[in-house]
């Protein structure tokens, strides 16, 4: 009998082109997404060396990081920051010069690269998907091998449609149990990272399995795969199933007719064989999981919302003690304070982690008929034009606006604050994004990572609240 293989092993082997003389693996790349921030230098590199793009139609471009979320009617001219505008113009020109599909700012299909890939059926099971962006791991929710790359590698993919890669190891995270009301997959992934840490996944591809994952919608799966990178992993994956196929059927770039049938044939074989070997394993039961919140400046700093922030003095490890102290100083929190007592000034609902329709549904159900706390600014930034439209068609926009939320145009927005959406010095934000690093959302800004349900409820309360109780 053949050696049992993991889902990742299967996709990896299917993409082995060959080797360089040095022995390095050449891996074929099926899908490549580019955005304005990490691609200009790659195209510059191609031009300098007079290189061609090997397969232009396997790359798709969109601007998302730098774009304003207020008005979009003027297209590129909506970008007031001149340097940012040049970057988006450069993307448009580069894609045109090399005959690569581009989704303009005014298109309904525009949005955060990791939201539109799946929405357009550009992301498919069993493919390799890369992008010059670490959250490319999101696409693994479809059973794709998807990972973030740097700009040199973007150039490498454009020129050769391949990458040079050492084979990562296999890690399995099994999640079981029934989650309670207003507990989301964001809480699950924050819990996992708080337990395994930000480097547990280094050099590994994580497969998420278990009854909880099977029950999850595609949106929920994308949220956990999205944050695999926060656990240090190369990629996160979920074995595709009927839900995956239903999601992809009839999407813009999805295979059609007979091609769809052969694809399904292939995709149904994408699972880890019984007894396949994983180098690392972690199990979690989520039956009693509470809403999670991060208190510090690393995604591993997650605690249950009704807990208190740690006291550095209670830690043995000196290095950890120092790191915790530095985080608390930056976050303006005293050791031992309860998260439920901490007031906030901003709420951000959006990003490639939680800017999908289901996220907005959950958040709107929490805020319906209520009002945002005084002196608090709360914004909702749909992840894509399609998400925005769907939400508007369902009447979610009105619920948010009636409650006092701002309803914005799609983009990365306050997830990284490259555009004008930023935190001011000392401002505290409940954010549905994925990184709480110092200065991530604006210099001196304090980011607490939470689920959309928690962000929504906290916007109403004006401080962190337990959305699993009485909401």
């Amino acid at each position: 009998m053949e050696h049992p293989k993991t889902l990742f092993d299967k996709v990896w082997e299917d993409h082995l082109v060959g080797k360089l003389s040095s022995g390095q693996n050449i891996i074929y790349i099926d899908r490549h997404l580019v955005h304005e921030v990490t691609s200009p230098q790659a195209f510059e590199g191609l031009r300098n060396k007079n290189r061609k793009v090997r397969r232009p139609n396997l790359t798709l471009g969109v601007a998302d990081h730098n774009v304003p979320t207020t008005s979009r009617d003027l297209g590129i001219n909506s970008i007031k920051d001149k340097i940012a505008r040049i970057q988006v113009e450069t993307l448009e020109k580069n894609l045109k010069d090399y005959s690569i599909d581009y989704i303009p700012l005014t298109s309904l299909n525009q949005g955060i690269v990791h939201i539109i890939g799946p929405e357009l059926g550009f992301t498919l099971p069993g493919t390799t998907v890369v992008c010059g962006d670490s959250h490319t791991s999101t696409h693994g929710a479809f059973g794709a091998l998807a990972f973030g790359i740097g700009t040199s590698e973007v150039e490498h993919v454009l020129a050769t449609q391949t990458l040079l890669q050492d084979k990562p190891k296999n890690m399995k995270i099994e999640i079981n149990g029934e989650i309670g009301k207003n507990i989301t997959s964001k809480d699950i992934i924050l819990k996992i990272i708080s337990q395994i840490g930000t480097s547990a996944g280094t050099g590994h591809v994580i497969e998420f399995t278990g009854s909880t994952v099977k029950k999850m919608s595609m949106e929920e799966r994308m949220t956990i795969c999205n944050m695999s990178i926060e656990a240090g992993a190369k990629a996160g994956m979920v074995s595709p199933d009927l839900k995956t196929f239903q999601y992809l059927k009839d999407k813009k770039y999805s295979p059609k007719n007979e091609k769809w049938d052969t694809a399904i044939d292939k995709w149904t074989k994408l699972y880890s064989d019984k007894n396949a070997n994983f180098d690392k394993k972690f199990d979690l039961n989520v039956s009693n999981l509470k809403p999670m919140v991060t208190w510090g400046t690393s995604p591993e700093d997650g605690i249950c919302i009704d807990e208190a922030v740690p006291d550095p003095l209670s830690l043995r490890d000196k290095e950890k003690q120092k790191a915790v102290k530095k985080s608390l100083d930056y976050m303006g929190l005293s050791p031992g304070i309860k998260m439920l007592e901490v007031p906030i000034q901003k709420v951000f609902i959006g990003s490639c982690t939680n800017g999908r329709i289901e996220d907005l549904r959950v958040a709107s159900s929490v805020v319906k008929g209520k009002k945002v706390a005084k002196n608090l600014q709360a914004i909702v930034v749909p992840g894509s034009g399609m998400v925005k439209k769907m939400a508007e068609d369902e009447g979610l926009q009105e619920i948010f606006i009636d409650a006092g939320f701002e309803w914005r145009a799609p983009g990365c927005s306050m997830c990284l604050g490259m555009n004008p959406d930023q935190l001011k010095d000392g401002e505290r934000c409940a954010s549905t994004s994925n990184r709480n690093f110092e200065g991530r959302q604006g210099r001196g800004g304090r980011t607490h990572l939470v689920s959309p349900a928690t962000a929504a409820a906290s916007a109403i309360a004006g401080s962190f609240v337990d959305v699993s109780e009485g909401w």
């Binding site: 082109v17 060959g18 360089l20 040095s22 022995g23 390095q24 050449i26 074929y28 899908r31 921030v37 990490t38 200009p40 230098q41 510059e44 290189r51 090997r54 990081h65 730098n66 340097i83 040049i86 970057q87 550009f122 498919l124 962006d133 670490s134 973030g148 790359i149 740097g150 700009t151 040199s152 590698e153 150039e155 490498h156 020129a159 050769t160 391949t162 040079l164 930000t198 480097s199 280094t202 050099g203 240090g232 190369k234 770039y253 091609k259 052969t262 694809a263 292939k266 290095e319 950890k320 120092k322 790191a323 990284l416 490259m418 990184r435 690093f437 110092e438 200065g439 991530r440 210099r443």
Partner: protein, 203 residues
């Protein structure tokens, strides 16, 4: 890519774990469309206060460490965003080698592609090397001999042969891969024959 030769410098130390790429180069400097000139923004929020004045206490603002070519740091260095601006900024500032107990994957790849040498050594050894930084003594990193030495201390390090060769010779990965085009051609032929669904079709 520039060839990596032996390196001698007084090392600078940032003894912290999880130094992320947002920290190495904050987002406001990612709007550039070029690779060059990012050194002045390296560790911007550590080097400059809110009024853009240099912070006296930060090591890279002080002689002789402002000229350090070697940086010693804590584990999981370079975690977070995939921005290649991080190694570009480090190199442009003059840092050519970083020694830490571990590095984040994407940062590691990005660095090697640009000829920035990343060495993994244990925390206890790095603590020892840090003393040389305080004493303002030079370390030498020899990629040829795979060791780091100072005075009579000589420590061997491990590095994959393949990466060592690429750095020493300054190989261009794209060039190397393009030489294998025939392998890519035959993969594509076979693959698209069997899996035509992988071709991009839009309606």
């Amino acid at each position: 890519m520039k060839k990596f030769l032996d390196l001698e410098s007084i090392p600078a130390v940032i003894n912290e774990i999880n130094i992320d790429t947002d920290d190495i180069i904050p987002k406001q400097f990612l709007k550039t469309i070029h690779r060059t000139g990012l050194g002045k923004y390296l560790f911007y929020n550590r080097r400059f206060d809110k009024n853009s004045n240099k912070k006296a206490e930060f090591i890279l603002n002080n002689k002789p460490w402002n000229n350090s070519k070697i940086l010693l740091a804590g584990s999981n260095f370079g975690c977070g965003s995939s921005r290649e601006h991080a190694p570009w900024a480090l190199l442009d500032f003059g840092i050519e080698c970083i020694i830490a107990p571990s590095f984040a994957d994407i940062f590691y790849n990005n660095s090697i592609k640009n000829g920035l040498l990343l060495l993994t050594l244990s925390k206890s050894i790095i603590d020892k090397l840090s003393q040389f930084s305080l004493d303002k003594k030079s370390l030498t990193v020899s990629l040829l001999n795979k060791n780091v030495f100072c005075n009579n201390l000589c420590l061997d390090f491990n590095i994959s042969e393949d990466i060592r060769e690429r750095l020493i010779n300054g190989y261009d990965d794209i060039e190397l891969t393009l030489k294998e085009s025939s392998q890519i051609d035959s993969y594509e032929n076979e693959n698209y024959n069997k899996n035509s669904w992988k071709l991009v079709d839009s309606d």
